[in-house]
Structure formats: C-alpha cells, structure tokens
C-alpha cells in the first residue's frame, strides 16, 4: 500500500512539474495532494489528513485553478524554459537531492518506537489550546493575525479601481 502511494506521489509530482498544459499540471497537483493525505491516513494522523484534504486539495488547488482560468487561455501551451536553463536546474536539483539523501541516510536516527496508539482529536484539541510547555495557544493566535494581514494585503493589491467581481477570499 505504501509503495503504491509513494510511487503515485513521485510520478504525479514529476508530471505536475513537466506537463505542458497548465490546467493538466493543476490536476496532477491535486492528485499529489490526495496521495499525501492518504499517507497521513497511513500514519494514523486522521485529523491532519482531513485538514490537508479540505484546505490544500479543496482550497488552494481551487484557488490556483481559478487564477489559471483568469489569467491564461486554456488551449495554448505554456512556453518551455530554455534547454540550457532546464539542464542547469535539473543538475542543481539532482545534486541537491543526492547530497541531502546521502546525509540523511548516513545519519542514524534513534530507534523507531512504532507501537503507539493513534492520536485522538481530544489530544490535539487541548494541546492546541494549552498555555504551558507543549501547547500552541500562542501559535494559534499568531496564525490568525497572519491570515488577517494576508487578507488585507491581498485585497489592497488585487483591488481594481472599479470594484470588479471580488477575488474570493480565503476559506477558514
């Protein structure tokens, strides 16, 4: 099962990156996101998988598709980068991948204690709101400020003089 998901992730991400048609690239991205959500299911992080599905797959990809529709005619192919640049960046990315993989594999991670019960939503809930050591209340507050600021910024930038159909603002 894992291997299938892993293969799916890798193949579709390569496709998103190399496909000529922009819309097709968006769909491949959708598949990648779903595959990652599946991996989370595999790791029993159901809550996270749900969030991933809704926010990422639902929200962001839709947003991207909207922007594609808004900005470029579907039919014409996206121009391909110059060959020289492709080779160079392929080389750089490849070298980086090899390098990091080497270092990661060389690093002996401590023993894997696998047998543990799946985390329940209750745990996540009170961890999210607790103020002490491992709690993330502060992070939670700051995220809200971030989203507010991002929203205001987006409106400022995207606003047209004549109030055309407003860009759909963010979910959540």
């Amino acid at each position: 099962m894992f291997y299938f998901l892993a293969a799916m992730v890798i193949v579709f991400s390569i496709l998103t990156v190399t496909s000529r048609k922009v819309l097709r690239a968006a769909t491949y991205l959708l598949f990648v996101l779903i595959a990652t959500a599946a991996i989370y299911f595999l790791l029993e992080y159901t809550f996270l998988a749900a969030v991933q599905l809704t926010v990422y797959a639902g929200g962001i990809v839709v947003l991207i598709i909207f922007s594609i529709l808004l900005t470029s005619r579907l039919s014409e192919k996206a121009p391909v980068a110059s060959v020289r640049q492709q080779i160079l960046s392929a080389l750089a990315a490849g070298a980086g991948a090899v390098l990091t993989l080497l270092t990661i594999l060389k690093y002996g991670f401590p023993q894997e204690s696998v047998a543990s019960e799946p985390t329940s939503a209750v745990q996540i809930g009170n961890a999210l709101t607790s103020y002490n050591r491992d709690g993330f209340a502060l992070a939670f507050e700051v995220i809200s400020v971030l989203l507010l600021a991002a929203m205001i910024g987006a409106i400022v930038v995207a606003r047209r003089e004549k109030l055309k159909e407003e860009e759909s603002n963010k979910e959540l």
Partner: protein
C-alpha cells in the same frame, strides 16, 4: 494569564490592538478625509513606543514559546524608534492622491509585519520563529506591490513573494531536519542536544540560508536590488532599515543562543560569507545610478560588515553587532529620509538628478552627506564608532586578515559614497532640484535621523547599556 504576563508581552499585544483599532477607525472615517488617519496612526504608534520604554520584568511565557529579556526589549524599542521615523517620512508620500484611500491598509500591514518581527525576536522555539518570519514576509510582499498600477512595484511584489516562498521552503526543510535530529522545537532542548553530525550541519546551513535571504547576504541577495528599486521609497526604507535590522537581531540571538555549541562552524561560514558579501556588495554598488538600487547594494555591503561583529567572542561580538545595527538603522534612515523627501516632491531618484543639490537646498544635502559619511564610517559621525567596535570584536578573535579586507572594502565603499557627495556638492547642474519646504512630518523625521547619527557616536552610554544587557542573554 496574570497581569504582569501581559506586561511582558505588551509590545505585541498593544500593536495587535492598534491594528484592529485602525481597522475600525478606517471604517468610520469618510472617504474624503482619509488623510486624518496619518496623524492618528502616528500618535498611536508614538504612545506604543513610549509604553515600550517602560521597565518590565523579563519572563518566559507559553511554556518557553515566548521569552522576553531586557535585550529583546531593547531591540524592540530600537525597531520602534526606527518605525516612528519611517512613518514620519512616509507621511508626505501617503498624502499623494493615488494612494489616498489605501492609507489605513498601509499602517495595518506595516504593523502586522512589525508584530511578526517582535515574535521572531522573542521566540522561544522554531515554530514561533517560523511563524514570525512568515508574518513578517508575506504582508511585506503586498507592501512592496503597494502601488499596484505601477509595473515596477508589481514586479517587485512578485519577485519578493516568490523568492521568499522558496527561501521559506528551504528554511522549513532545514527546520524539519533539526526537528528530526533533536526531537523538539524548543530552543533550550535543542541548544543542549545539537551535535555536529553532517545532517545537523546540513540542517543548520539550510536554516542559515533562509535567514540569510532576509538579511540579503550574498548568495541569497539577488532579490534585494530589484525589490528595493521597485517598491515605493518608504517601503524600501522600511525594508532596508526595519526588516533587515530585525532579521539581524534575530540572527544574533539565534546564533548565540541556539547554535552556541557549533559556534566554530558558523564562525567559518560567517568568515566566508562576509568576505563575499562585502566584495560583491561593493562591486555592484560602484556602478549604480538609481539611488534606491544604490542604497540596496550599500545595505548588502553593510550586512557583510555586520557579520564581522558576530565573529567576536559572544558578549563582545553581540554588543558590537547590535550597536552597529543601531548605527546602520539611523544612517539609512537619514539617507532614505532625504531620498523620500525629494522623491515625494520631484519624483527623481537618480544620483545625476542630485547634481548641485547643495546650491538649492543645503540642509537636505548636508543631512545626506552626514548619512553617507556615517555609512562609510568617517569619524565625526556614529558610523565610525560602529565600524570601529565591529572590527575590534573581529580582531579580538584574531581575524586580522579579515579585518584588513573589511577595512579595504570600507575604503572602496567610501568611493561610491563620496560619488553621491560629489554629485551634490561639486557637480554643476543647470536645473537642480528646486528649493522646497517639506511638510512637518518629514522635517521632524529628518531631524530625528540627524540627531541619531550624531548622538549615538559620542554618547558612550549607549554602548555601555548594550554591553550590560548583552551579558544576561547567553545561558
């Protein structure tokens, strides 16, 4: 949350309340007199700065996620002063008709980024650091693209957002590896657990490149020039003064506290990066004609000098760097104050437009000269003391050759700073910028900057305060 907990976190809390307050005021202010927002916002922020200076006891909140020492409070106060001056200088620009209705948004976004920086400075764990970083950068992109109908500003915005996205991606990868190797996001646990396994080195380097992007050190600096040139003048000054200053502060704290154990490593990294940054910063600055781009590259070169301070032993190094950042902030504010004043009146940005400025408005050109000298490190002004202490701290660690290269670079930098001075004083110009009286805000802003440049140098107490505070930080 007992009351004095509130007190320790007062900077962030007050600022968030002010953002919301401005949001509400903006609603009830009619479209016509939006400009009334400017005095309101500035006075609000003044109150905030004053409160910031009140003494407050340091403490650790949210179980380590947020810590505030006198040093972090000092840093925040320095940033506050910087922002006050930036706000004063941007008043003239904001009153222009094309961003008449966007005034309150400008304040809100700026203060949001400021809160982001506060959180980054006083973060106790990498999560808060990352969040602060994102809160500081994402709205900044919208600021860069503020004058959206202008192609340059739009381009600056997109360049900034995409490059920062990539850099935060790499930063996150580094953070994940740190988390993987140390098991926890909190600084105090990491500090003890951080060995020098190759993966940890890789993680640190990825993290460092993310941070280097913010301070625009050389390999990661390419976005700086275009974004600075594209963005409106006051946003650029906010960029180069506040955002760079804050990220420098953060780098100091993180390097000295979290990665204290692998100090030998990042000192070598800084050794190489500082040399490259100084050299490249100077080389590029030599040929610039546009003042904003010129100041961009000069700030890159200054960042190179900044790294030198970090090489010193921890207390000495920290103090020297913080002092240098303070001096850097004020000198840049002076320069940007003049540039924004002239830009607001005449829209001219090139050095050649500044020819013969001395004849028409002497005071402005004098301030510009002072800030240029302060950036170059010439004695009467604070820049000299800043550079001197920086190089003393580097020399204390025995990096004589580096100090020599740095001082040579300072001489090369003197060349292009003097080019500006030459333009203003020596070059003849048939239609120089006519004499103009800038409004109250800008004048106050310029005077504060000028005062800062002089006072910081001679008044030795400032350096003493920083030293005393610095000793408390490193556990």
């Amino acid at each position: 949350m007992v009351f004095n907990d509130f007190l320790t976190m007062r900077h962030e809390l007050i600022l968030v309340c002010m953002i919301l307050l401005v949001l509400i005021i903006d609603l009830c202010v009619s479209k016509a007199n939006k400009t009334v927002m400017i005095p309101v916002a500035i006075s609000l922020f003044l109150i905030h700065t004053i409160i910031g200076f009140l003494p407050a006891q340091s403490g650790v909140l949210f179980g380590g996620a947020y810590h505030s020492e006198p040093l972090t409070v000092l840093m925040k106060n320095i940033l506050n002063i910087g922002v006050v001056i930036v706000l004063l200088q941007s008043a003239a620009w904001l009153q222009k008709e094309e961003n008449r209705e966007k005034i309150s948004e400008f304040f809100m976004i700026m203060w949001a980024t400021l809160t982001g920086m506060y959180f980054m400075i006083s973060s106790g764990d990498f999560l808060m650091l990352y969040l602060g970083l994102e809160l500081a950068t994402i709205p900044m992109a919208t600021l860069a693209a503020y004058v959206h109908h202008q192609t340059k500003s739009a381009e600056a915005g997109v360049k900034f957002i995409l490059s920062s996205a990539l850099s935060s991606g790499i930063l996150l990868f580094g953070l994940s590896m740190i988390y993987g190797t140390c098991g926890s996001m909190y600084f105090d646990t990491i500090q003890t657990a951080y060995g020098n396994a190759p993966l940890q080195v890789l993680a640190f380097l990825f993290f460092f490149s993310g941070m280097a992007f913010k301070i625009s050190l050389v390999p990661f600096h390419l976005w700086t020039a275009d974004v600075y040139e594209g963005a409106p003048v006051n946003v650029t000054s906010y960029f180069s003064v506040i955002s760079k200053g804050a990220s420098a502060f953060i780098l100091i704290i993180v390097l000295y506290t979290v990665f204290h154990s692998i100090a030998y490593l990042w000192k070598d990294v800084l050794y190489i990066i500082s040399i490259i940054t100084m050299v490249v910063g100077n080389l590029f600055a030599l040929r610039q004609q546009n003042l904003k781009r010129f100041l961009a590259f000069s700030s890159i070169a200054q960042a190179g000098f900044l790294l030198l301070g970090l090489l010193g032993a921890n207390e000495v190094g920290m103090t020297a760097t913080i002092y240098f950042v303070l001096v850097y902030i004020f000198s840049n504010l002076g320069a940007f104050g003049v540039v924004s004043a002239i830009h607001a009146k005449t829209g001219k940005e090139n050095i050649s437009d500044y020819n013969g400025l001395y004849k028409t408005n002497p005071l402005l050109s004098l301030l510009m000269m002072l800030s240029m000298f302060s950036l170059a490190g010439i004695p009467p002004v604070a820049g000299f003391f800043g550079k001197f202490f920086l190089f003393t701290s580097a020399a204390s660690a025995g990096y004589y050759w580096l100090v020599f290269i740095a001082v040579l670079n300072a001489t090369i930098s003197l060349y292009y700073y003097l080019m500006v001075v030459k333009a203003m004083f020596i070059n003849k110009n048939d239609n120089p910028i006519p004499y103009f009286k800038s409004d109250a805000y800008t004048r106050v802003g310029l005077i504060c900057a000028a005062l800062g440049i002089f006072v910081i140098g001679f008044w030795s107490q400032i350096y003493e305060i920083i030293t005393s505070l610095a000793f408390g930080v490193i556990k």
